[in-house]
Point group: C2
Chain length 684, copies 2
């Protein structure tokens, strides 16, 4: 390259250099380290290296680019355009050569390391860097004088043409290779998995000639209740299909510990649960493959995340050691295995990657949340809460990350609540109580109208109002507290004490009548004292876990809170804070990350460097075991109050005023100095 | 260590050093690099470190060793002796400590790298260095504060206690590990395979506590006709059982090319042959395991060798490419795979190693012969011939090795011979013809007497004399040549020309009556002109291959000849040379290596460094393809004469005198100047 040679400037990278007349654009891009894709190695077959020449006077770059700056269309490029078509203005980077100064734009779809943009503003984009990629090669024909095997000549071609060393071809490769080489006239496309470790790569599939199709991967989040799966194009990063199924293990036990017990008490119980979850995963693969219009055999990789019990059961490891102290994991590191080792039906040589577990109660799902939310790279101190039957809690920033899990129980999911139900059409999900009249209004899933809007009953549909889901129960109790129907201790006042007839007697306590559908044959939905107590226990466990991490970190407040999990997506930050689920913090700093575990699985699928990153992050996370921390019990007891017995919640108090009422036995109103309290005890 | 500390001298190594009083003998041995075994790491459990203290004045070593030079028996040692017993004079090296100057003998069975002595004087001993070994470790108990997995703590223990890094535990390990650790109270024995490549090792099995048993391996030689298997103790190197079976693929074709044709002409033919050979291997494993009184699950490794067609069929690769030029191998390098990948029934995580192939016609069996016979380390120039349906031929020394294969056809195995049969009781295997009377005498397999010894007919048993086997046919034709019954061209003379009534007319040619059993209902065994022609073709192909390698090497003679293969073990060197099968050479320099391919497989099983060695040797072997070498045809034609048309055979002529007779048409005796010759044509 000399100064008199044509100058080329690539956008958007801005990389620039001089190249001799006749240099293919792909060659120039490679020499400058510009991210321009190619599967066929510059043979005008794959069209991955499409570029857009820009013409005109570019003062910014100091370049005047004329039409004559690129070569005329050659025969290869013309044939490609006439057979396959090219977007207007596009050229093939491997065929077009530099004739004069040029500005060349590399469109996103031509970049290997393209970014998959995530919808949330605070989320990092995903850079494409998948572990499995396609490589087109031309293999030397066999020669009696040099009797190397077909595999060895393929390996040589991969090294010579792509710089790939230590490429393993296993028995399946050997079995398929000979016909593929001969059918493709010594040209083949290989799918190669470069995540073997120790610098090795592995041939997954060989196709004769240039393979027109893509290759696909799956991101699985195996939850106790739901199994979710995304099917992703490993070249474009596009999600082609997503689906979810109830975890069929529910028939063996609603929550994790009941499944561990099932395994302990039933011979073959663990095996039955392993079979169930694998069958469900296979059914899901069938669904997403059909939706994406691909075959199972085109799916060459999958990433799985799940809590430790799901993780062990998926792997066929008895989870009983997770049922008692010291909650020993069979393995904590990340795992690579063949799909067929765990009977997952996809490409016969497909690889599975499972994220590491953080601790006996903080699993690969929490690791995936960490990968998605990046607490380890946060500038401010972030509290991340994945709300479910067990809450996984992380607190940290660039200086370090702490993690624990806390046994919230299933109340947040609507279980153990009198009118509770799963989030489904007909379930109350949002509630407001008028602070003056104490009359409620609400919305149900599947209906845009509020319950006091005209036409609500018709709009809600024939199933009517059926119950209340997790986010609804949080809202209604927070609204009851805000309206003075529930006091700091969590007691529901009588009609006399609260001034609303909706406070109805319920045995020796009171309940709040949220909805009476009995006239039209529907349910009466009461929020009972027991419901409030169940939520108090659950939220106290969650808060105590967070507070324990704050103690360890030596802070009294956090800068922001991220609510992860499908449930987190529906929680109203204000109501969560009134309830005292999460520490006091500016409301606008409480955000939802949606299914962050599933997103973390997708990141690990699309970016193999992210696997090394999360393995390293998990090793450095400091694990706190709540079961053996003496302060946990103290934090738990203090957190039973609504919002809290001792912590001040100044930011919350700056936006809402919580009525100073008290309904405990011995005092029906006011701050009741001499009341006797019945405190719920933690379940553990 | 200072000069005033006790001095210890280890025998047989002669390694010596000073150690502080109280140093365990095992510790001293390790620091000096003395080869002293230990599976339990010095805990007095495994007894692998047994040593024999030697007492007295050792002028050779400058040491006076007294009884007080070693510590008294401690409790661990006493308990071991009372429970398990120790040979008189033995101590446990990990328990006995140095108290004064000592001479310590390390018995062979206490050496890790013990030598397995081979019976043949010229063979190298096998140094024990198996890829799979046992390691006893004590694993840290799980701890809630440090929630690493059981696998990770086992890996840490293997690193801390044995220096093993990159130890992979796969799904099976994870599944079996938790109960093993708890049953063994955090002490386990692992079988670890250190042959993964790229510095990795893999856990194959975990036993609770100290594993009393050993681990076993198999060496398989898959021949076209026979499959042989040795079962070997991977700790002692001892062969516990050996067995062989007919290769059931024979029903698809007698020789290699007919099996390749079967695969080409029958849909599913290759699959059927693959199934047959795997079933036979599994049957053999059952036999040797029963004989060795072990279970299949204790067999953790196997090494397979075989010619390229057997190699491909075992692996489930269609061998059709081996049936035509350029005879492309699917893979030429060595292969590692799981036993279950090729449906071989042994330990579920057992590993299989297959030696590399040298060329499309020179397979892993030839590589195994090279490993056993070491032409690459020979000081003199050695010709190695593995005689079978296809002969594999190697020529070389430290300066380089050449290899080729030559299509001898099955005549040497008794096929295509009128009275031919397999080597079995009743088959004539040795023949002498009196040079004066031209009367023969012979011996048959299964009988020690010669046919002219008194009592022969009774001794030979009820089946009588049934035919002639490969080595017998070589001897009889060579003896016929020596007795002047066959001339240089291979023609059998008439009774008139040869002076013996045993030369009988047979159509337009003559035959030699070797045995007439017709009076007692047995066969008349004639050596016909066609028999002689078949052997001439076979031996000419063999000789031409050897001669081609000699040309390439630029030599006119070789220093020694090694005959490999079961057949080679029974060939008489003198007769082989009279026939001109092998080049002229001192007779005492012609030796048999027995089943050298099977021995090579056993070496690769017991010494993992030998695997790297043969892979490197095979890469450097120069391969000659006889089919495309123009001089092969010329050598072949010249080699049809007995012993040879042009090569002089001076050493042979110095010990025998071949009659100068000629029986071709036109001259019944003398050197017959004007005879017309009918030359057999090569089959190819």
């Amino acid at each position: 390259m000399t100064k008199t040679d044509p100058l080329v400037v690539f956008t958007p990278s801005g990389k620039r250099g001089h190249f001799p007349v006749g240099t293919p654009v792909l060659t120039a891009a490679r020499q400058l380290g510009v991210d321009l894709d190619s599967v066929c190695g510059g043979r005008g077959i794959c069209s991955k290296c499409q570029i857009t020449p820009e013409f005109g006077e570019f003062a910014k770059h100091g370049v005047k680019a004329e039409e004559s700056g690129l070569s005329e269309w050659n025969a290869v490029e013309e044939r490609y355009r006439s057979k396959r078509g090219l977007k207007p203005g596009r050229r093939l980077g491997c065929q077009a050569t530099l004739q004069g100064d040029m500005v060349i734009d590399v469109p996103v779809e031509s970049q290997v390391h393209k970014q998959v943009v995530r919808k949330r503003a605070e989320a990092r984009d995903i850079v494409m860097d998948p572990a499995t990629r396609l490589y087109y090669v031309e293999v030397e024909e066999p020669d009696m004088e040099k009797p190397t095997g077909d595999l060895e000549r393929l390996q040589q071609a991969l090294f010579d043409q792509w710089g790939l060393a230590h490429v393993i071809g296993d028995l399946r490769t050997m079995q398929m290779l000979q016909p593929a080489l001969r059918d493709g006239e010594w040209k083949v496309t290989c799918a190669i998995y470069e995540g073997e470790g120790l610098g090795a790569a592995r041939i997954i599939q060989v196709w004769p000639g240039f393979h027109e199709g893509s290759i696909y991967g799956l991101a699985f989040d195996v939850g106790s209740t739901t199994i979710a799966c995304h099917c992703v194009d490993l070249q474009s990063g596009e999600v082609l299909a997503s689906s979810g199924l109830m975890n069929p293990q529910i028939r063996f036990g609603e929550d994790l510990m009941s499944r561990v017990s099932y395994s302990m008490m039933n011979e073959g119980g663990a095996e039955a649960m392993t079979k169930a979850v694998r069958e469900a995963a296979n059914a899901l693969i069938g669904q997403v493959a059909a939706e994406a219009r691909i075959s199972r055999e085109e799916i060459v990789e999958a990433v799985f995340v799940g809590n430790p019990v799901m993780h062990h059961l998926l792997l066929g490891i008895d989870p009983k050691e997770l049922g008692w102290a010291p909650f020993a994991l069979a393995t904590s590191n990340s795992i690579q295995l063949w799909a067929k080792e765990i009977e997952i039906e996809m490409h016969p040589d497909a690889r599975i990657y499972i994220l590491p577990c953080i601790a006996g109660h903080v699993g690969a799902d929490a690791a995936a949340v960490a990968l998605s939310e990046g607490p380890n790279v946060s500038d401010d101190l972030v509290l991340i809460v994945d709300v479910g039957t067990n809450a996984e809690i992380m607190l940290g920033d660039r200086d370090g990350v702490l993690a624990c899990s806390s046994p919230t129980g299933p109340a947040f999911e609507g279980a153990q609540i009198s009118g509770g139900q799963r989030a489904a059409p007909g379930a109350i999900e949002k509630v407001e109580i008028d602070p003056v009249t104490r009359e409620p209004r609400f919305r149900v899933i599947g209906c845009e109208l509020w319950s006091d809007d005209p036409g609500f009953e018709r709009a809600v549909g024939p199933q009517g109002v059926t119950g209340i889901c997790g986010s609804g129960i949080i809202e209604v109790i927070a609204e009851m507290r805000l309206a003075g129907v529930v006091d700091e201790d969590g007691s529901i006042g009588s009609a006399a004490a609260t001034g609303t007839e909706r406070a109805v007697p319920d045995g020796r306590t009171h309940a709040y009548l949220l909805h009476d559908g009995s006239e039209s044959g529907g349910p009466r939905i009461l929020i009972t004292q027991a419901d409030v107590r169940a939520i108090q226990l659950a939220k106290a466990a969650l808060y105590a876990g967070a507070r324990l991490l704050m103690d360890k970190r030596g802070v009294e407040s956090v800068d922001r809170v991220v609510l992860a999990g499908a449930f987190g997506a529906h929680i109203s930050p204000k109501h969560a804070m009134i309830l005292g689920m999460i520490p006091d913090c500016p409301l606008e700093k409480v955000t939802s990350a949606g299914n962050a575990a599933g997103t973390g699985a997708r990141i690990a699928l699309l970016n193999s460097a992210a696997r090394r990153e999360i393995e390293s992050v998990v090793r450095r996370i400091e694990k706190i075991e709540t079961a053996v921390e003496p302060r946990f019990q103290e934090h738990f007891v203090n957190a039973i109050a609504v919002p809290h017995k001792v912590d001040p919640f100044p930011r919350l108090n700056s936006i809402v005023t919580l009525p100073s009422v008290s309904f405990a036995a011995g005092g029906e109103s006011g701050d009741g100095g001499g009341r006797r309290r019945r405190r719920p005890r933690p379940a553990a």
